[in-house]
């Protein structure tokens, strides 16, 4: 069956070509399912590149690529979702406050597109929203803790109500606690409880469908090590 489909596709291409004008792109004539498979493949590859980036160079390259994908596949929630995710992560890496905010401004645009494309409630969006709030807070903690702290809590709670089994909720909570001074109820010890909860949930997650976000496990494990190091 498969080979048959492929033959038909190939046939189509073959017959279609002579009448093509130069401007038409190859992508548009591929059948919908192949285009989608290609899109999914590209997206997964870029996300995995992003997650496994070993230096800032690789990280930015993968993020740039994710933005390209989102700009091209505007109607794909997942493309917008990952572009938002990668920019948010970059904002943490960036040192200059002005640029941090610029990354997050862009990330917000992608997130709202993801929201409007998906149409129904989805816990992962609220997770990302919470992460964005946390990233905003991180730019100027003293000035922003109030507004963005509340926004963070609001969105983690919302995500929790939709799917309490989402490990990223606890990973983010742990992160937030880790960077909250101990005197305000944060600290490594409190953070570790959350990271460990996330750890169990991450283990049960499948990592092959890009439409079901699975990012965070590597970072979560790193944070567990960090917490343990600090507690000692």
């Amino acid at each position: 069956m498969k080979s048959l489909t492929l033959l038909i596709i190939a046939g189509n291409i073959l017959f279609a070509f002579p009448v093509l004008s130069q401007d038409i792109k190859i992508d548009t004539i591929k059948s919908q399912s192949t285009a989608n498979d290609q899109f999914k493949e590209d997206l997964k590859e870029s996300v995995d590149d992003f997650e496994s980036a070993k230096n800032i160079n690789e990280l930015v390259s993968a993020a740039n690529r994710l933005s390209l994908i989102a700009n091209k596949f505007k109607d794909q929630w997942s493309a917008n979702y990952y572009a938002c995710y990668s920019l948010t992560v970059l904002s943490y890496v960036e040192k200059e406050a002005k640029k941090k905010d610029a990354y997050l401004d862009e990330a917000e645009v992608y997130l709202s597109k993801a929201f409007s494309e998906f149409k129904t409630e989805y816990d992962e969006f609220y997770v990302l929203k919470a992460m964005l709030a946390n990233a905003r807070l991180a730019v100027q903690p003293a000035l922003r803790y109030k507004k963005y702290g509340d926004l963070f809590n609001e969105n983690t709670e919302k995500a929790m109500s939709l799917n309490p089994g989402n490990p990223r909720i606890y990973y983010l909570k742990g992160n937030s606690l880790f960077y909250t001074p101990k005197m305000f109820g944060g600290g490594a010890k409190n953070a570790l409880t959350q990271f460990e909860k996330a750890e169990t949930l991450f283990k049960n997650e499948s990592k092959d469908d890009i439409y079901k976000p699975y990012w965070g496990e590597i970072q979560n494990n790193q944070m567990i090590e960090k917490c343990k190091g600090e507690i000692k």
Binding site: K2, P18, Q22, L68, E106, A142, F184
Partner: protein, 733 residues
């Protein structure tokens, strides 16, 4: 499987055939080049791609890029980099390689709109205008958690601790108005005890925003020649919580309940200064240690996101007995039996305060209306002589803010203020009644993001004086860069004559002042620099045309003689320059600021014999403030140093003398911790660590006797703690 592989091969073969024959999906073209900014600096990590495709790459450390594409012919090459404007170049992709360099421009991030800042210092959560945070007030060493104390660290103010109130740019305390949610507070400070500066009645926690204007303020306010301190209370409480605090001056308990659309906050306090006075040696003797207590209730309702109703009620009582220099003993004419030169000043005060405000937002219209009322009673004993002060006030304000478009806003409003003051001393009694009617309009026009105008006009009528006035005001701001601006303000400001003249039955005209202010402000990455220059002319000040043979009496409680020529023939000026620098970026966890004010001012008013610098003015005032958070210890440490050059004072012949310079070094510490569900802060503050014996001057009586004016206490130590249950807020810090 094998079949599929074969099929692929076939497809690939077909493709390559097509490629060769048609030439359209030809071999990939390599596009390369370099990306630079307008300063010709290479941009690493920039993104470059062909529009609507995912063909693209990221530039290397030298801004170079190189990628392959199947695209041919006319296309758009997109270059982007965070913080830069996206650049789109039309290119023709040839079959061969293409070299295309790109230059992209830095984006003016979130265009900063200019804001009128002349004369204004803001403490709130808006980073565009805020120079202070509300929290600063509580954490400044030396301010003792007092709002006025914290404001005294800002430029334009006098580091005054022997008298109550704010002394701004050559003005006396009566020239400053204290506003809460748009309404005048008649008794913002605890009742006066001669020679002891009093704290404000309100705690800084209650406010989300504080705006201090040392001149050129909005038409919303009148009856202040010098300054307006505007405080805005919190909206809906954040969370339900419970707080308890105790210190050497008393204990306080507060509870907040937050529902979805409303919140209630109830507070209660008991004050007793005995432990505090035991820790420090005071310069005044209290025959009855100050004690007091009170409670407050606040209700906020946000029925919809377009409505906001706030109700606030507060009631406090206090009493104290202080030995003070008898202000009447030297005045044998008016007070033949005034008694000893030191006299017991007994005070019992009760104060009731109510404020309500309601705001409704329509599409492009905001309606605000407020009503406030207060009632204040002091029962006084000047030694054996009984006296009292009794005053009340009711105020109403209604205003509309009309948002015509992004550039133009119009504010139109009116207010009614009715207040009465009565005082008795022995068998004398006097009083007056005022009804002030005011209307105002102000335009806020921003033709460009770098230019703002704020012209306005205030009309006011006084029933007591039977006079009216018109006060035009104008403020503007011009952007001079993304982080800097120049702001200018000018205006005409009116105020009723001082109460002491109204008590004695005099009804002169309004006094007035004209302000001219120019300000330059630069804010970038948590660093602020401000420099401000001003000129202020005082006109129609109330002046007592006394005969030259009458000697000068510096006593602020002196009796105003009846049937004299007391009119508006006084005048004066104030000019000066102020610098402010704050930096909390250079060293992590370190925040410091420097504020310096120079003033040159002279005035002929009240019972002055010639135009001189008033005794409440030091020409040079310097404040240094440092705060440092020692993270591993969870300890905040702070210090403040205040310097004021010697103030002038006048003897009974009105000959000027100068007091020594004033110096003060204060430190504070606070330790923050969380124990289970409790969040706690323990703090300690030491004012005047070096125990310097500051002398503000000497007060002369007409007979030539004098006493020195000194602070009520030299070195003071304050210790206390606060704990919050469960969902604390950082506000409790």
């Amino acid at each position: 499987m094998g079949k599929i592989k074969n099929t692929f091969k076939i497809v690939a073969l077909i493709f390559s055939l097509i490629t060769q024959f048609s030439g359209i999906a030809g071999a990939q073209t390599r596009i390369s080049g370099q990306m630079k900014d307008t300063k010709n600096q290479p941009l690493p990590f920039a993104s470059i791609s062909i529009e609507n495709t995912i063909d693209g790459t990221t530039t290397d450390s030298l801004g170079r890029f190189s990628f392959k594409t199947h695209e041919q012919g006319k296309h758009v090459l997109v270059g982007s980099y965070i913080g830069y404007e996206t650049k789109k170049d039309t290119i023709y992709i040839p079959k061969n390689n293409l070299v295309h360099n790109m230059t992209i421009k830095e984006k003016p991030l979130a265009i900063r709109e200019v804001v009128v800042t002349a004369g204004a210092f803001e403490a709130n959560d808006d980073p565009k205008v805020a120079i202070l945070k509300p929290l600063d007030i509580y954490t400044n060493a030396g301010s003792g958690g007092d709002i006025a104390g914290a404001i005294r660290t800002l430029p334009g103010t006098q580091a005054q601790t022997d008298q109550t109130g704010l002394f701004v740019r050559g003005g006396d305390a009566s020239e400053s108005s204290f506003i809460i949610d748009g309404m005048v507070v008649q008794n913002p400070f605890s009742s006066n005890v001669p020679g002891v500066s009093q704290r404000s009645r309100f705690t800084p926690f209650q406010f989300k925003g504080i705006s201090f204007s040392s001149g050129g303020y909005s038409v919303r306010y009148g009856q202040a020649l010098s300054s307006v301190l505007e405080l805005n209370t919190m909206d809906l409480a954040e969370k339900t919580n419970l707080n308890f605090s105790a210190g050497v001056t008393g204990i306080a308990l507060s509870g907040t309940e937050r529902w979805k659309k409303s919140s209630v906050e109830i507070t209660g306090h008991y004050d007793n200064l005995s432990p505090f006075l035991n820790l420090a040696k005071s310069n005044v003797h209290f025959f009855q240690v100050p004690v007091g207590g009170g409670f407050s209730v606040k209700y906020v309702l946000a029925a919809t996101n377009k409505d906001l109703l706030k109700l606030f009620f507060k009631y406090d009582v206090s009493s104290s007995g202080t030995d003070v220099p008898n202000p009447y003993s030297a005045d044998k004419v008016n007070y033949p039996n005034a008694g000893d030169s030191i006299i017991g000043f007994g005070l019992k005060n009760s104060n009731l305060y109510f404020n309500s405000s309601y705001r409704h937002t329509f599409d492009n219209l905001i309606l605000r209306t407020s009503v406030s009322a207060s009632n204040n009673k002091d029962n006084i004993n000047w030694g054996p002589i009984p006296g009292s002060n009794f005053d009340w006030r009711i105020q109403w304000r209604g205003e509309t803010l009309y948002n015509i478009n992004d550039q133009v806003n119009i504010l139109v409003g009116s207010e009614l203020q009715r207040f009465q003051f009565n005082q008795t001393f022995s068998t004398f009694n006097s009083g007056f009644n005022e009804l002030l009617t005011a209307g105002y309009a102000e335009l806020d026009w921003k033709p460009f993001h770098w230019l703002a105008f704020k012209p306005g006009l205030r009309f006011e009528h006084s029933n007591l004086l039977n006079k009216s006035n018109y006060g035009p005001r104008l403020a503007m701001a011009i952007g001079t860069g993304n982080n800097s601006q120049i702001s200018l303000a000018s205006g005409l400001f009116f105020e009723d004559p001082d109460k002491k003249y109204l008590y004695s039955g005099y009804r002169p005209n309004f006094q007035n002042a004209i302000h001219y202010i120019a300000n330059y402000q630069w804010i970038k990455n948590n660093r602020t620099f401000r420099v401000e220059a001003y000129y202020k002319s005082y006109n129609q000040l109330v002046y007592e045309n006394l005969s030259n043979s009458v000697r000068y009496d510096a006593n602020p409680y002196r009796f105003i003689p009846l049937n004299e020529i007391i009119d508006n023939s006084g005048n004066g000026y104030a000019k000066g320059m102020e610098i402010f620098w704050r930096d909390n970026a250079t060293i992590p966890n370190l925040d410091y600021w420097i504020s310096y004010s120079y003033i040159d001012t002279k005035r002929l008013y009240q019972n002055f014999r010639s135009s001189v610098t008033p005794s409440f003015v030091a020409n040079n005032n310097l404040n240094l403030l440092v705060k440092y958070f020692i993270e591993p210890l969870q300890l905040n440490v702070g210090a403040s140093y205040v310097y004021a050059s010697g103030r002038p004072f006048y003897d009974h012949d009105f000959i000027v003398k100068t007091a020594p310079d004033y110096n003060d070094l204060s430190v504070n510490l606070s330790y923050l911790t969380t124990i289970g569900k409790f969040f706690g802060v323990a703090y300690m503050g030491i004012d005047n660590v070096l125990n310097r014996k500051n002398i503000y001057g000497y007060q002369f009586s007409p007979d030539g006797t004098s006493h020195n004016i000194v602070p009520a206490l030299y070195r003071t130590i304050y210790i206390g703690f606060t704990i919050s249950l469960s969902q604390f807020t950082k506000e409790e810090l």
